[in-house]
Symmetry: C2
Subunit: 270 residues, 2 copies
């Protein structure tokens, strides 16, 4: 086999690692790929780690032990993430987004691949320190961000539904009180989730935490631990507070007719 230059090896390793964030690749994997010695791959990894640091491309980490190797985490890609979130806040502060009833239109942001990819990485970054087996969201608007967070965490996404669907098989249904006080139902396929696993709840908007509270109750039915709850946007002063320990990427002041409102990144967003 033709010798592969370091140039090429670094480009290939970059793509393989960044395409599968949070997955551990053994050095042997790259030795086989390049038909090269472990010491050479070790040097490559060290070089790549420095380059990624220098150019703010995320973090390359060496994991020791039997299941050890190297893994990539998209932490602070492009530098500090606060300006990225501030950019979204500015878009959300466009008064033409205010809808009758004081709602804020942000479905476009929540389905834009570039925005949701960035937000998903930020959410994952906040939970890399916590064991998470899957990301849970409730249909519909939070799905894209939740998917991107799941991808960055290297775990599956599970989607709870509003009603039981025949194509989900037998399901667990619960009732919960939504943010606006109405009684809603939530349904999740029995086969979707393993008992004893750990869920990260990701959703688009928190008014009082009603829907997330429903998801917490749903997880209890499955004997699943909730490892964290994260929203894209939350009220600065929630109308109620039916959950605890949640994070929001952005905070929205009350929207009152004729008055201006603000959207700002949460303090933990650096």
């Amino acid at each position: 086999m033709e010798k592969i230059k370091r140039n090429e090896r670094l480009a290939v390793m970059t793509q393989v690692l960044t395409a599968a964030p949070n997955r551990i690749f053994t050095l042997g994997y790259f030795c086989d790929m390049f038909n090269t010695a472990k010491s050479t791959v070790s040097e490559d990894v060290a070089l790549l780690e420095d380059t990624m640091k220098k150019f703010h491309l995320g973090r390359l980490e060496t994991v020791t032990g039997a299941a050890g190797g190297v893994r990539y985490r998209p932490v602070q890609v492009g530098g500090p993430q606060r300006p990225f979130v501030e950019g979204i806040c500015r878009k959300l502060m466009d008064p033409s987004r205010v809808l009758p009833g004081g709602y804020l239109y942000f479905s476009d942001i929540l389905a834009d691949p570039e925005y949701v990819s960035g937000m998903g990485k930020l959410i994952a970054t906040a939970y890399y320190g916590t064991p998470v087996d899957f990301v849970l969201t409730m249909e519909t608007k939070g799905i894209p961000v939740a998917l991107m967070a799941a991808q960055a965490l290297n775990v599956p996404l599970i989607i709870a539904r509003r009603t039981t669907k025949v194509y989900e098989g037998s399901a667990v249904n619960i009732s919960y009180v939504s943010g606006n006080g109405s009684i809603e139902t939530m349904s999740l396929s029995r086969r979707a989730v393993k008992e004893g696993s750990r869920a990260l709840i990701v959703d688009d908007f928190m008014r009082g935490g009603g829907t997330a509270g429903g998801m917490v109750a749903l997880m209890k039915e499955f004997n699943v631990t909730v490892a964290g709850i994260c929203f894209v946007l939350g009220l600065e002063n929630p109308t109620a507070h039916m959950i605890e320990g949640e994070k929001c990427l952005m905070l929205l002041s009350d929207i009152k007719p004729g008055e201006s409102y603000t959207v700002r990144p949460a303090d933990w967003v650096l």
Copy 2:
């Protein structure tokens, strides 16, 4: 500024380009990033193009003209994609997936970041030759794949809803006949779509094309051209055929009680 080695430049360019598929980066963008001459970046691009070809990492393309530069497309990443799709087909042929009524459980596949990322790239690959301004899907199950296709095409995702939602603003509603013959409604926010643009419809399952037919009708209301229709899974022998020109990634034979069924990749999947 310290001189940046080719090693490093190639690693950085790989990440920047692969993280933003189908987006054109000018050579000047990288000249500024590395404080280096255009001729050097040109050589880097040529090298990277060869490496990506050699290692099946996708296609790096030079685009000439005023808006020219270099763009990355995740075409045949990892080699031929047929084995990847065959792997999904094998999973779907597990008889424990058959639900009462002849439905097939595949929500888990449709929300797995690795599967939907691969399938999204395959769908995008099939439409790189066609101008597409956005991807349209109907909630819920197709959203992850549609998002990944949108990301690979570098366009937004638009999600049609089953009912009008207050937080979507004023909306266009249509009625359509679903695959199982019932009358359903579909709603899309007025502000979601620009007149005169071009939509690629992506959805999870085609029985007779009813829902997709609804999306086609909905696009007509917005004066939007349908550039293509692609499903993750379709019936080998559809119960009806309410649309035309569609593609499916995988084809499912009829599921009859007690009989075995097959799922196979479509012929266009190479």
